[in-house]
Each structure stands twice: as structure tokens, then as C-alpha cells.
Symmetry: C2
Subunit: 114 residues, 2 copies
């Protein structure tokens, strides 16, 4: 099976000299993964926790069904933003350090504009 290429691996900063179409698409994919209030809340929750968080822990905060939460967690994982670890019945999630650094770099336009 071919490895799934994640947008995070190739997306380029908005301020990079001149993005080509492929880089722009990858960067847009990364923003798309975060273009949903539930996914923003999940990333926010993970950013404020020290360790991996069980998929089961998001239900009370998000007021969404478990399948919907799993869908959002999958989108964030596919975008390369989360690390997923299976522990028995449940999966545990944490933010990926390199993804976090990439996201900050992608969104940083300070010093190049205005």
C-alpha cells in the first residue's frame, strides 16, 4: 500500500517567495483541516493538555456524537496535525510537534509585509 502523503509534509509558508500550485494546494489543505469550529476546539483542547487525550474525552466539551468527533479527529490526523495512538478500545490523540511548528511557519507573514 502506498504511503499517504500528508499536506503538512509539503505545505509552504504564505510568505514564501513564490508558491507553485502544488504548494498552494497543500497549504490550503492545512488551513481547511482547521476551518471548522469543532476541529479548532479539539486542537485548542489538545494544546492545553500535557499528554495524549482519549477520543472519548471530547464528547462532553464538544456536545457532538462520538462518530462525528472521530470524523474530525481523522481529518486532523490526515492533515498531519495530530498523532494517533491506539490503546485498547480507544484511540488517544496529541498534537504533532513538527506540524505545530509548520503551522506557525505557514501562517507567519510578519516581517515580510505591510
Amino acid at each position: 500500500m502506498a504511503a499517504v502523503e500528508t499536506p503538512i509534509a509539503c505545505c509552504a509558508p504564505l510568505a514564501a517567495p513564490l508558491l507553485d500550485e502544488q504548494e498552494a494546494a497543500a497549504t490550503a489543505e492545512l488551513f481547511k483541516a482547521l476551518a471548522d469550529p469543532a476541529r479548532v476546539l479539539i486542537v485548542n483542547a489538545l494544546a492545553t493538555k500535557a499528554g495524549p487525550v482519549c477520543a472519548c474525552e471530547f464528547e462532553p466539551t464538544l456536545a457532538l456524537s462520538q462518530p462525528t468527533i472521530s470524523h474530525h479527529l481523522k481529518k486532523l490526523t490526515d492533515a498531519g496535525l495530530l498523532e494517533r495512538e491506539q490503546r485498547g478500545k480507544w484511540a488517544y490523540f496529541s498534537l504533532k510537534r513538527d506540524a505545530v511548528e509548520k503551522l506557525a511557519a505557514v501562517a507567519d507573514l510578519k516581517g515580510v509585509c505591510c
Copy 2:
């Protein structure tokens, strides 16, 4: 006419202690504005230019029709990321400094996670 409220005015960093639903929605709106390759390319082009850029200048680079380009410029302006200035027939666009700083702050999770 009531002022249009822009997401940029109220969106919160992903790493903020605990976002409420309204803040998460505003933050997601900001990412949504950038969740499109053409809009990433527009912001990229503006980031690499010193002054305002005419809406007419994007057509060769983006290979899109002028109405489509205007649509993307409107989305970015509505999200609070661009400044729009009418000069005769054409509108000129530049990145908004406070929006750029907000975007960088919103996406910055370094130091709080992993």
C-alpha cells in the same frame, strides 16, 4: 448600514486557555478564508509585494477569470485579511498588518504543546 463584523476582530489563538464556541467559530472562519489554493496564492503574492496590488494583476498568475478572482479577493477582505482601496475602475489590495499579526498569533502553538 450596520458595520460588518469580521472574524479577524474576535478570533482567538488555538493555544488560548479554553475557547468558547463563538471564538472557535471565528477562528475557523479565518482558516476557512485561507482554505483555498487561489486565496493562498493571492496572500502569497501580496506578501511578496511592497505596495497595494491591482485586482487586474492576478489574472495571469492565477489563470482564473476576473469574476472568480474578485470573489476570492472579497472572501479575503471579508475575513479581515486584506485592505481594499478603489482607484478608478479597479480595486487595489494589500495585506492588513493587524490581520497578519492576528493570523500568526492564532496559528502559533509553539511553547504550549508537545
